[in-house]
């Protein structure tokens, strides 16, 4: 059954690309310069691979993404744990936290460039800002959603506050923490592109921006799809980590 579902997904994607190709190359429904068909995108992609610049840009973006994402995990998980488990922290730090979440963080990108320059720093920071909130919020919900009955049972068998946290709340929240981390991966991809639009001359986001400005839409779309592929691979890795770290949860969803 699982194999069957995988084939269905592959078939979906293949059908989508086939329709797209047919609509542009076959039926000429749109100008291929503006809506390039998959064949043109593939040609553009292999062309970029051949001229050798792509790996360098991809490496620059990936490094920033990993740095910003790890920072988001290191900051987001403890923040979520604190917000979720302490009424005091939630009352005092909650309002600024939600205000920051409500802010259009993308709007800060030009400011970050002014403050931090054209290097990697503003890019890492915007990736961090994109990824940290889903991680912190899911962690918080995970802690708050712990079945009170489990906490009562732990108290009956002698657990104090710290043991309740370590032996019950943290474990119960683990699946949602990993869900947050998976969402954080997707947001980090957005951060890559946004962070490289202004100020700098490196990275996949920068390349997308440049090729679009040159009306080389086939290349721009090829790069976008490359980011999608990278995001999916990373999210699959996090899912795998969840299956290993929280098998009782992953198998429960059938």
């Amino acid at each position: 059954m699982r194999d069957l579902k995988r084939w269905a997904v592959a078939l979906e994607v293949a059908a989508l690309f086939a329709l797209w190709e047919l609509a542009i190359s076959g039926l000429k429904l749109a100008n291929p310069s503006f809506v390039p068909p998959p064949s043109a995108i593939w040609t553009a992609f292999t062309g970029m691979l051949a001229d050798g610049s792509l790996p360098e840009h991809a490496w620059f973006s990936t490094q920033n993404a990993v740095a910003g994402f790890l920072l988001a995990v290191v900051v987001g998980v403890p923040c979520g744990l604190a917000l979720g488990s302490s009424r005091l922290v939630s009352d005092v730090a909650g309002p600024p936290f939600w205000t920051a979440y409500a802010m259009p963080r993308i709007a800060f990108q030009p400011l970050l460039v002014l403050w931090l320059g054209f290097g990697a720093a503003p890019k890492i920071l915007i990736i961090f800002l994109m990824a940290v909130f889903p991680i912190a919020i899911n962690t918080m919900d995970g802690i708050r959603g712990v079945d009170p009955s489990l906490v009562r049972a732990a108290r009956v068998y002698g657990a104090g506050r710290i043991q309740v946290f370590l032996k019950v709340q943290l474990w119960a929240a683990l699946p949602l923490i990993l869900t947050g981390i998976r969402m954080g991966v997707a947001r980090a991809m957005v951060g890559i592109v946004v962070g490289e639009f202004i100020g700098g001359s490196q990275g996949l986001g920068y390349l997308i921006f440049r090729r679009s400005a040159d009306f080389d839409l086939a290349s721009a779309l090829a790069l976008t799809l490359l980011l999608v592929v990278i995001a999916n691979v990373l999210m699959a890795l996090v899912s795998l980590a969840r299956r290993i770290a929280a098998p009782w949860y992953a198998e429960g969803v059938s």
Partner: protein, 255 residues
Amino acid sequence: MATDPIIQIRDLSVRYHVARTGNRLIAVQDVDLDVMEGEFLTVLGPSGCGKTTVLNCVAGLLTPTTGTILAGGRPVTAPGPDRAVVFQDYALLPWRTVADNVRFGLEMQPRLKEGAADRIAEAIRLVGLSGFENSYPRELSGGMQQRAGLARSLVADPRILLMDEPLGAVDALTREVMRAELKRIIDATGKTVVFITHSIDEAVQLGDRIAVFSSHPGTIKEIVSVTPGNRDGLRDQLWKSLESDAVAAARGAAE
């Protein structure tokens, strides 16, 4: 001393402040109850009569508004290793296997570190779960999950078992089997048991004595002793005693 009750409840009242309405809700009022060592006391009453509240006070999970509770002669202020609880919803940790869930019953007690493995194996054997040590709770039926919950409560050898409708969430057929099983296991261990139920059959079949609760406010209506000769008569008597409360609860007249 030997004749002193193992649990003594005096003038127990619990009131809640309901923030939404600003009213005070009286959950339990003026409960006096003694439980003797080795006794199986069933607590019978309609939903919402405060019987679980009393149990939670004895467990040390809830602080009474007024009144005192002594367990083994000492005032109850918090949970303690002399009292274990079996929950209606089992409250097993889903990320732990049966053996590790049972281990949870003694791992917060350093004095039981030595010989823990033997204790765990013995508790699992006693409840009839041998062979399922490495199963996760969700792989087990409701009845088997409650067996695991029972093993967890027995593993540290408490003097008192507090059971909050332990068979309330299992299917009817399993419940019949589990009642007999429970009786066998409890008899084998000689524990003092306070067993909450809203089933008259269960109360009569399992209890040495039955404390009948009525609601609004939750208080003890009567305490009856079960003897082999009076079981059938008791069922009718208890039903008469509970009928008006049960009908009221079913109609939601309580609110």
